[in-house]
Subunit: 267 residues, 2 copies
DNA sequence: GTCATTGTATCGCTGACCGATACTTGTTAT
DNA sequence: ATAACAAGTATCGGTCAGCGATACAATGAC
């Protein structure tokens, strides 16, 4: 009865695994993943749990303060308590601690939206955002995810990963186009990543969101491994890809360089 | 066997309450509340659960990806997954959706750190932050809590609450001084709140953090109930309390006014 | 109105989880 | 070095928390 590896990669069995904990988190995820309040049956469908189980879990999560039920619609949403957990992460994450100051500097220097993010699974996820001009609000939030293969931040990070890991990332999920301009050709993405490795940054043209240009540079630890990326996104209304490469890329690279740990000498 | 209310306000019993869910969240809270990675025994102490239970819970939370164990120190910390939950909250919260644009405007207009927060329990908690100059990083994070009675944001919100609720807030916890300048006199705080009600804003002088001046204005819904506050914090190195009241307060009030829902006519 | 759908309440059975405890590893003191 | 201690890990049998089924109630769609 040893460690039966299961389809989804989470190792159950093993004696110490508490199923209710997993169910709890899955329900929270289902609620959080929805852009709007979500009903009982929808949660059941999203998680695959029975209605009874979901009923108990949401009830409890509500009474401990993490979910909130709109009495009129009977739909659930996350509460501000989620920010307590997020705060716990932000406070202990070295990238935030060491990077935020430089990020603020960069933001003031270039006067545009500057962000920081890291790789989580196959996604690039924003961990710090300093929006400059009015912009799409939903797009400006911490915790937003973008597929690594098409986000400039994701590609920048990949540029410091060994080829093998990059390929694994690209194979891990279908390469779908988010906009008509998204590059979905595996070989072409590998070329872009390679170019990013040579240039030290990666600029993209509306591959995630129409009207948005983005440029990123990777942040590395003392071993040269990427731990995140500095990213800046601007509107096509006031920028061209060329201007981004010339004006913004150096700023982003400089910020990333300052945040990166100096590389240890090989011994 | 109806709804035995328990000491901490959380209603257990009641058939639908799942104890493991509560335990799960308590463990996450214990980890998140720590400013640094935390060990098994410390979690057990913080939560009051047995070591075995904590062992199982942390094990499971780790394997589903919300906690991370440093293999060297065997201590746990939150992972970036916490941001997924936070993102779920931010996306559905109307205050964020309607407020962030105005907040960005205000930030550009006054060139100083501008924040938004809401009341949660007896704390003022930041839900959006736009840091301007280099500043204390830990102080600049989303999810940071401050006691409502001494934070300018908390007082601004209280200024729109009925007297009775304000008093309840002040009685709910001991009024401790966070700095030598913190007002801890209950009567004096009530006066300050009253003054905020008359002026439409509340400015404080280093009552939470030495070197930090803050000014806030409340955001209200269509019934005139406060739902949050716009706040700006600046350094004593470049500002005086007077300058804050004259220059910054109007900006903050304007932003709060724009975010607030127009008050419905009484019928 | 009727019907379909979603949310709520109840209940008895059972295996997942609990707590105790023994073991291992790492750290501190002498 | 070695002991003494603390922190973390592994194991196990008994039992009651929580599971699923199902019946009931409330919405709202038509």
């Amino acid at each position: 009865m040893a460690a039966e590896p299961t389809a989804d990669g989470v190792e159950r069995g093993e004696g110490l695994f508490v199923a209710s904990v997993e169910r709890t988190m899955r329900v929270l995820e289902a609620v959080a993943a929805n852009q709007a309040p979500i009903g009982l049956t929808e949660i059941a469908a999203a998680t695959g749990f029975g209605k009874s189980a979901v009923q108990r879990l949401t009830h409890t999560l509500t009474s401990v303060g993490y979910l909130e039920k709109d009495p009129a619609t009977r739909r659930y949403r996350m509460t501000v308590r989620a920010l307590d957990l997020a705060h716990g992460f932000l406070v202990t994450d070295p990238l935030i601690n060491e990077g935020l100051l430089h990020l603020i500097d960069a933001s003031e220097r270039c006067g545009e939206t500057v962000n920081m993010g890291k790789l989580e699974g196959t996604d690039f996820i924003y961990v710090a955002r300093l929006p400059a001009h009015r912009m799409n609000v939903a797009a400006a939030l911490i915790g937003r995810r973008q597929p690594a293969y098409c986000a400039s931040g994701g590609r920048a990070i990949m540029s410091l990963l060994p080829r093998q890991e990059v390929e694994a990332l690209l194979d891990a999920r279908p390469l779908r186009a988010l906009t008509p301009l998204t590059t979905t050709d595996r070989g072409r993405i590998l070329e872009i990543v390679e170019q990013a490795r040579l240039e030290g940054f990666c600029a993209t043209n509306q591959e995630v969101l129409l009207g948005e240009l983005a440029v990123s540079a990777p942040i590395s630890d003392q071993f040269g491994r990427p731990v995140g990326a500095v990213q800046s996104s601007v509107s096509t209304a006031s920028w061209t890809l060329e201007a981004v490469r010339e004006k913004l890329a150096p700023q982003v690279m400089e910020a990333a360089r300052l945040i990166s740990r100096p590389r240890l000498a090989k011994r």
